[in-house]
Symmetry: C2
Subunit: 172 residues, 2 copies
């Protein structure tokens, strides 16, 4: 679980914690700074991804300034959530494929090779957003996830992420 010294970002609402362990809490410390999902990024979204059965799930309540047209969530936030949920889901799925669960040691780190977002309808700004993912392909190097994003139970966007294992050369 996250160490007590970690500071929460002002973008994070305290009510969105899940009882299930989040894969981002087990990223190695030197690669846990992503603006979208890094627990060590004090300015960022600190997205958390957990298992719920066979699906990976992330939840986040946008802030009022995450607007597009007034009243709706801006597309870049939706793309960010689908992106970071994709790499988190890839890490969770790789652990499970290897007979481990989230929390059984460090989680592997993935980066995004490809992201596709279909905006089906405007996403209302206000309700908590929920991203759900299912793995459709998994190899040693690559994981593909199909995702939905919903607000108040209504699916407003679909995503597809191709995540690949982070190259060792990326860590400085």
């Amino acid at each position: 679980m996250p160490a007590p010294y970690l500071r929460r970002s002002p973008l994070v609402q305290e009510d969105k914690a899940s009882p299930n362990p989040a894969v981002q809490d087990f990223y190695p410390e030197d690669v846990a700074h992503c603006y979208g999902c890094g627990r060590l990024n004090e300015h960022g979204l600190q997205l958390k991804t957990v298992w719920e059965g066979e699906e990976t799930v992330s939840r986040l309540t946008p802030r009022p300034f995450h607007t597009a047209i007034p009243g709706y969530v801006y597309g870049g936030l939706i793309a960010s959530l689908l992106d970071c949920h994709g790499t988190g889901g890839a890490a969770a799925a790789t652990l499970r494929r290897d007979g481990r669960e989230i929390g059984d040691g460090e989680a592997p780190r993935f980066v995004t090779a490809s992201l596709q977002v279909e905006f089906l309808k405007p996403t209302p700004l206000g309700p908590e957003l929920e991203v759900r993912g299912r793995v459709t392909e998994i190899t040693d190097r690559k994981v593909i996830l199909e995702e939905t994003l919903s607000a108040g139970g209504v699916v407003t966007a679909r995503g597809r992420v191709v995540a690949v294992r982070m190259p060792e050369t990326m860590v400085r």
Copy 2:
């Protein structure tokens, strides 16, 4: 041009102004609040999109916390820039198709129907990022743009945006 009362977001670097007029400065006031590109969003990125010949261009220097793996830009920001540049480019292209240029009255407002991002290589965090777009299809209702994102002259991502005219029903 933007009214003098507008406040710049702390995310915006002052050195990135272009001498060419930016389409976002001519969005109607009631739809100029997007976190990615709204001139009236004091918390957001305030992306600007201008013409350079036949290409639309947006430039932005990320802040240090816009990180993925340390040293690199997080994918959600790249997706956001490609997304907002896409709707801005669609507006600019629609003006030009109708015999107008940016600044000839209000600019039309588009929303994103579909966004595709290919992350070709890690994008270094530090240099100014440049998004360039070309229109490949334009109708009364829909504009498709192909985009590149580069850092220090090296293309690190490609995007494709399908932008559609904002439905009147979205304005509250």
